[in-house]
């Protein structure tokens, strides 16, 4: 049953291997005795392409394919919340960054209850400020306006 997914996995490995080769074009390969910075990456790139092809071809021979269920929405919200935190943290400070991060992350869940999210944001911002800024003395401003 693992087949459809193995074709994709194989393709992903081949693609990563090809990217590795592409990126290594400019690096001197050198010789087996004096390996340049390009030697190891090129070997690994080809190896990955070979392994990826093996994974994909092995799967292609079988017929019991099953579709994969991708659920992009939770992934998108979680990613956005992390990115927002990274973006806001140095610009506005810890508390505003968390105030954006929490609702965005919570939106990834099946249920979104506004009041709960607000309470959670407030409690955890206080917790993070207490532990990271006062406890561990990380040099972050709580607010940076």
């Amino acid at each position: 049953m693992h087949l459809h997914r193995d074709i994709l996995a194989g393709a992903l490995f081949v693609a990563i291997g090809a990217l590795a080769l592409l990126g290594a074009r400019g690096y001197p390969v050198g010789s087996a005795m004096r390996m340049g910075p390009g030697y190891f990456p090129v070997v690994l790139g080809w190896l990955l392409i070979a392994l990826g092809a093996l994974v994909g071809l092995r799967a292609a021979r079988r017929r019991d394919w099953q579709p994969l269920a991708w659920d992009w929405q939770p992934l998108a919200w979680i990613s956005v919340s992390i990115l927002a935190f990274g973006f806001l943290m140095p610009r506005l400070g810890l508390v505003p960054a968390l105030a954006v991060m929490f609702p965005a992350a919570a939106a990834a869940g099946r249920e979104f209850r506004l009041r709960e999210v607000l309470v959670l944001t407030a409690v955890m911002s206080a917790f993070a400020g207490g532990v990271f800024v006062y406890g561990l003395r990380l040099p972050y401003p709580l607010f940076n306006f």
């Binding site: 693992h2 994974v55 979680i78 990115l83 935190f85 990274g86 869940g109 249920e111 709960e116 990380l138």
Partner: protein
């Protein structure tokens, strides 16, 4: 007795009030995060390990040891009470632990798991003290060829013997090796795969990989599950196991320790295989094998002891050779490197306080778990009832702050989000991320040794097969391949539901 002297040195270093406090904090935090459903020990350590950055080396590693034990125990709690293993190794614990919990003996199962782990931990510490120095001395004779072959064996072993598909595991190792290459090449100073991003010139940080690939991907995968996990909230009657339970568990725990220590010494095989092997051994030896799977306490004691013994024993290759045997050890190794400690045969002689301090602190972490966590089981169990919709944003917060705090640089946070997407894709395609992590850590080292070996042999690759120790590792690698090709291990391992 030199061993006693060494252990005394270690305990002298580790046993200060401050270090004990760090150890306690580590155990408490490790259990707190590790008990959350779907968060395995690896993710827990990855999440919490930025907290230890700002401490000096010894307290930081002691706290990490505490986190490690707490996380392991948190995993045991979810396996036994929720039938939800956080990692492969604890899947075996579910087989009898969950039935025990359903019979109202969850408390006894949890206690036996902690006691069995403690027994294994004590013996494991002794094993490190006994086997570490000779192995370290032996390793001093290793040249680049030996190191390369050993790492190859470890990588192939980890790829092939973990759960899932062997070929995909190998491919993941190669991806990890490539990720490890990002950054400046030590030999030539050429920045590789940096794409003119200044942050990438220094390489991709360890926390970024561990948190992105494991934690973020795990949260998303958990959120996708339509059905919330049924939480077993039956009463926990009687935490302490009866004398009969203890008697029944003693020998299985001891045998499990032996099995675990054996597998732990081989880089790459790790706890998953050992806990499975220990379980099968007990089932074979049992007078009434039909009790297994229905709540036999031996079925909890043996794999939990084996798991811990393997983890403890895998410290030996990690510390003396600098080659982590398991993904969790990869994290510990990464932490040591961040603290400016280069594991390898020299650590023991150059920095004995640190080496023996780590050994002692592992034992203290284990003890701390026993004396503090067991009475607190009720608290952890209550935590299982906190709705996931409150928990996961908090985990995201730990991910974000953890990554930011490494360099105080938002780029690490962005990279973590990107790797989270990759981790989700890997999870969907059933590609195990653990071999990738091992490849990532070993990549630069492996390249370095390969280059040096080839330079010394004037470009002749036969050097890997003419030096006896290197040849032995190469033959072992081939043997692992042969075993897999014959299907001796994997179909059996699949037999575990």
């Amino acid at each position: 007795m030199e061993i006693l002297h060494s252990l005394e040195l270690g305990f002298g270093v580790a046993l200060t009030a401050q270090n004990l406090a760090y150890c306690f904090a580590g155990v408490a935090l490790g259990t707190l995060i590790g008990v959350l459903p779907g968060i395995g020990p690896l993710t827990t350590i990855g999440l919490l390990f930025p907290l230890t950055f700002y401490l000096p080396p010894i307290p930081s590693l002691i706290m990490l040891a505490g986190i490690y034990y707490g996380a392991q125990y948190g995993g045991a709690i979810t396996s036994i009470l929720l039938n939800l293993p956080g990692e492969t190794a604890s899947a075996v614990t579910c087989l009898d632990g969950y039935p025990m919990a359903r019979q109202g003996r969850g408390g006894a199962a949890l206690a036996i798991s902690a006691l069995g782990s403690f027994l294994a931990g004590c013996l494991g510490t002794l094993l490190i003290a006994l086997a570490g120095p000779p192995l370290g001395e032996w390793a001093l004779a290793f040249g680049p060829a030996e190191y390369f072959s050993l790492m190859l064996m470890g990588l192939v072993g980890s790829a092939v013997l973990t759960q899932g598909d062997a070929v995909k595991g190998l491919a993941m190792v190669v991806v990890g090796l490539l990720v490890g290459l990002v950054g400046t090449d030590v030999n030539s100073g050429v920045p590789r795969y940096a794409f003119d991003v200044p942050e990438l010139v220094d390489g991709i940080g360890f926390t970024v990989i561990a948190v992105g690939l494991f934690a973020v991907a795990e949260i998303v995968t958990n959120l996708e599950r339509r059905e919330p996990q049924p939480v077993f909230t039956g009463p926990l009657v009687g935490l302490m196991p009866s004398a009969r339970d203890l008697g029944r568990s003693f020998w299985p725990a001891l045998r499990g320790t032996g099995v675990g220590a054996f597998f732990g010494l081989l880089p790459g095989t790790g706890p998953a295989l050992s806990s499975f092997a220990a379980y099968m051994l007990e089932k074979k030896l049992a007078r009434e094998p039909e009790r297994f799977g229905k709540g036999a306490i031996e079925g909890v004691a043996a794999p939990e002891a084996a798991n811990n013994a393997a983890a403890q024993a895998s410290f030996i290759p990690t510390l003396t050779l600098g080659i982590p045997g398991t993904a969790v050890m990869t994290l510990m190794l990464g932490a040591m490197v961040m603290q400016g400690v280069t594991p390898g045969p020299q650590v023991m002689t150059a920095n004995p306080e640190l080496f023996w301090g780590i050994v002692a602190s592992m034992w203290i972490g284990n003890l701390m778990l026993l004396v503090l966590n067991l009475p607190l089981v009720g608290v952890w169990v209550r935590l299982l009832r906190v709705p996931y919709r409150w928990l996961f944003p908090c985990i995201v917060m730990f991910c974000a702050i953890g990554n930011y705090s490494v360099n105080n640089n938002p780029v690490d946070v962005y990279l973590c989000a990107a790797l989270g997407v990759l981790g989700y894709v890997f999870a969907k395609l059933e590609c195990e991320p653990a071999p990738l992590l091992l490849g990532y850590v070993l990549g630069p080292l492996m390249e370095e040794h390969l280059r040096r070996a080839m330079l010394l042999s004037r470009g002749d690759p036969s050097v890997f097969f003419t030096r006896p120790i290197s040849l032995a590792f190469m033959l072992a690698t081939l043997l692992i391949f042969a075993i897999v090709l014959k299907g001796l291990i994997r179909p059996a391992a699949r037999g575990v539901p």
